[in-house]
Amino acid sequence: MLRATDLVFGFAQRRVGADVSFALAPGETLAVLGGNGAGKTTLLRTLLGLLRPLGGQVTLDGIDVSGMPESERALRAAYVPQSHGPVFGYTVEQMVLMGRAAHLAPLARPGRADHRVANEALERLGIASLARRRVNELSGGERQLALLARALAQQAPVMILDEPTASLDFGNRVRVLQELDRLRAAGLTIVFSTHEPDQARAHADRALLLGHGRPLALDTVERALTPESIMQLFGVPVRIADADGYRVFVPAPQASDASIRNAVPRPR
């Protein structure tokens, strides 16, 4: 159970967002939707206890994450950061094995069982063939899959993903999203950030629309994601199109209509 209560998040010098409250039960997924610089990553880092909240609190299974030792937190929540180029050339397998750190005693190194968990994670995502490749020689998408595999190897009941599909090609995007659906069905609590309203609608139960720190909406995806709220969030008019019963957001035809232009929030 992941719960945020009256969360105020940001840095000592700069408040990024406020008024975020939600509780997620096992099997529930929250999509955090927002434009560039809306504070999505900052919020996710605060949920993970990597950043101390400026106000309110985050609890995992009823325990405040701020006071939790790292090793205990890592057993309860896994993190998939946006892919980065690491300095040293670890192999994918070595990288995924690092997901086992929280399960190991401080002086232990991964054993046979940990190798098995790591290999299972790689196979699940269809990247077993990358096991021997160096992480800094992979494409951005392959690296993202490796980071997801590492989080799977962590075997935590909560998984927090920062724009998990941002750098993926179509096939890998589908693969990652299907994996998220499977994890959700397996009872994991998932929070992921995205720029895509459709992704939020298709793969999450609830959506948090983050407009420069303040939630514009936090509700079930059906109620939170409307053409009006999306327009308010991203500043462009959208409408819902129906593709064989599959409803998607598409850009609305450019209207010269003054009423639409007035509805677009002006920058503060």
């Binding site: 890592a74 040293f88 690092m98 991964p110």
Partner: protein, 352 residues
Amino acid sequence: MSDSQHAASTLDARERPDRQGTNRALLLLAIVALALIALIALCAGPFAASPAQVADVVWSRLLGHPVAGIADEIVWRIRMPRVALCVLVGGALSASGAAFQHLFRNPLVAPETLGVSTGGALGAAIAITLGAGALVLQIAAFAGGLLAVAAVVFIARRLTGHEPLVTLILTGVVVASLLGAAISLIKFIADPYNQLPAITFWLMGSFAAAKATDVVAMLPAALMAAILLGALAWRINLLALPDDEARALGANTPRLRGVVILAATLASAASVAVSGIIGWVGLVVPHIARVLVGPDFSRLWPLAAVLGAIFMLAIDTLARTLLPVEIPPGVLTAFVGTPVFIALLARTGREA
């Protein structure tokens, strides 16, 4: 799972023991090479001993029946401590360099980055100006190195920032330059006939005066560092990830970083105390080790230590046999280290 994936994963399973075997063989090979170079070092010099003579001397010493004579005097009492000290210092500098490079996620970092050498040099310079003996000088250099790093860590932890590592490196650079200025001041006021040359030679590093007591003095710090690095080796890999990720994976990064800094500083401060400042070993050798076995720290640090010992011993043996006068090893490491480093950069690109 598709057939190709299945094939790949069974292939992986088959590959693993081989690869581990390769790494172990590599380490073994390096140890054998080190033993060979040690033998050469014991033979070489103005008094050329044959390998058989060396074996004789060592064997009779190990049996506890030393045969008095010029061979025993030179091989056992003069060259052996020097060889042992080179091995210890080279190993310590290289292993701590590897640790610092992981810690800072930066392959251009060396043991000197946090000011251990400059602190040690200042301690030594003060001791020399005060006319202290060899033991006090070593203690002063060791303490100076530890104090400098402690000051850097203390100041960096006061300065809160998003980038604790960048703060730490910058603090190290700033503190080292302050200490460097203090050394210059001491050199300026030092007696130019006795103290100034002593300080200058000490700063260049040397094994010329190596004694068995130096080996004994260095051993505890080196062992302590080896135990700490060995015990935490796998977990030190986490420090090579961005801080957020390492913490999300369960690493208490400030504490882990503190222990690694302690281990690497103990080893390099002890090296500086017994041999003066010898650069390049801690920067270049970890690169070579990484090219050979990859970045996994549990494989990296033992190989880096052995290769560092080989490098140091080879350099020192060249330094004392190449010319009629001894070349300061710190100078030779730079002459050899620079081209090696550039060649490595050319070969491996940004991943070096």
